[in-house]
Amino acid sequence: MRKASRVLMSILAPVLMFTLLFGLWEFICVSNNIPKWLLPSPSAIFSSMAANFTDFFPHIMISFGTVLAGFLLAVPIGIVLATLITSSKTLSAALSPYIIVLVTTPLVTLLPLLMLFLGYGQKVRIIGVVIQAFAIVNMNTCTGILNVPVIRQELMQSVGATKLQSLRHVIYPTAALDIFTGVRLSAIFATTACVAAEYVGGNEGLGSLIIKYAQYLKTTESFACIFFVTIIGLFMYGLVSFLQKKVVYWRT
């Protein structure tokens, strides 16, 4: 009974919180007669999301495609690179500062250059997303692999496991939680990177729509696009949580 009410509370509290938040926002907009171009009310934003959905839809799909493709490429690249880097002490010493460089350098600085070489298409933006998103997976995977307890490695040695066997049976499962931390962050960075890439160039995707509408003082439409970006972010977050539950089925 107590447990049930606690579960109910942990669902109810955030729902109430969001209702309160949007209610307050709505109230401020309506009661102060705030002009739409300055700050649209949530109800106006939601109705714009519905009314203009057919206009938004191709851009939503382009942004979503960029995020998803970039993310799906970034995760395996990050994990494989981390596996290679950690296989040698010298290699990991030599390259780990550069991984941090990649993590800390905002890719938006590279995009204008990439676009000069490769044009303004979706491919360039996907490359940008991959660059921003793989580094954090790589870094967290390295951490996870380097923290595998010695006795587990010794167990693998004592039964004559090959490198691949110890990766599969011991190293990846041990590092799984760290890897998923990186994967979750990379999903977030992928969304951010996609918007940033759409800011830099091209005239498709939600990022470029947000700028365009803002320039024409169509703030409501701008916000509608921002909310669609949120939905993409939510989807990515849900996807990673779902995968983590499926993959990391054990307790420690």
């Binding site: 010794e154 167990l155 039964v159 004559g160 307790r251």
Partner: protein, 266 residues
């Protein structure tokens, strides 16, 4: 005369850390006959764990030779599977993998070293039954108590029918009663399977109870000080602990190790 099962010839292991050079094992020699039960005992840091890790190819010796059945091991690189197959390693902690069930954990060495045949599975299940893990077969390690986990660790090292068991303070983390019980079970297994066991411990009573001979090691540098033959009759029951002969062995060994500890303090 057949060659000894295991032989160490003047084995030395030196570790280099950033600030110092540590002689973990110095000029160690030992012969273990087939079917023997020997213990290596000594204070922490005397290199006893390093010894069996060198035998199992986990650590490479700096110099000296290690032989199994009179055959020299190529210790310059990782040991080939057909040699590793002849040994089973039991760790101080159960060291089971939390993502596999008890049975999957126990099956792992066979799975890694080749195929898991029907015959292997039957043998594995008979071992599981023997140590009383039948009910825990499909449980995950997190759901199982410490003693049962360590039993699973022991069984895992035996599923591929090794000729030699290397045990690194296997019951050191358990409470006294559980330890004694597992010691007796181990003696049963040893008698039934006729394998050779090298047992690392810092517990004098355990060493005397189990072994035919005990190698006493000292620290800094880690080296062999003395070999003590234990002439107690087999099979041994737990009751042997209360006999005067047992107490005499215990006193002798405690004296040897006690001297060591005193020297270290000085």
């Amino acid at each position: 005369m057949p060659a000894p099962k295991i032989e160490f010839r003047n084995v030395t292991k030196i570790f280099h850390t950033r600030s110092q050079t540590i002689v973990a094992v110095q000029d160690y020699s030992m012969q273990v006959e087939t079917g023997d039960f020997v213990s290596i005992i000594g204070p922490s840091g005397c290199g006893k764990s390093t010894l069996i890790r060198m035998l199992d190819g986990i650590i490479q010796p700096t110099s000296g030779e290690i032989l199994i059945d009179g055959q020299k091991l190529d210790t310059s690189r990782r040991l080939p599977r057909d040699i590793l197959r002849r040994m089973g390693f039991i760790f101080q902690k159960p060291n089971l993998l939390p993502w596999y069930t008890i049975r999957q954990n126990i099956a792992l060495p066979n799975k890694i070293m080749g195929k898991l045949t029907k015959e292997d599975e039957a043998y594995m299940d008979s071992l599981i039954d023997m140590v009383g893990l039948t009910h825990y077969r499909d449980a995950y390690p997190v759901e199982v108590s410490g003693g049962a986990l360590q039993r699973a660790g022991v069984v895992r090292a035996m599923v591929h029918k090794p000729e030699i068991l290397l045990m690194d303070e296997p019951f050191g983390a358990l409470d006294e009663m559980m330890r004694e019980q597992l010691d007796i079970e181990l003696l049963d297994i040893w008698k039934n399977l006729g394998i050779t066991i090298v047992f690392i411990t810092h517990n004098v009573e355990e060493a005397v109870l189990l072994s035919s001979s005990i190698y006493v090691m000292g620290t800094q540098p880690g080296r062999l000080l003395e070999r003590v033959e234990i002439g107690l009759p087999r099979p041994r029951e737990l009751g042997v602990i209360t006999t005067e002969r047992f107490a005499a062995y215990e006193r002798k060994l405690t004296g040897l190790i006690g001297k060591l500890e005193l020297k270290n303090i000085k």
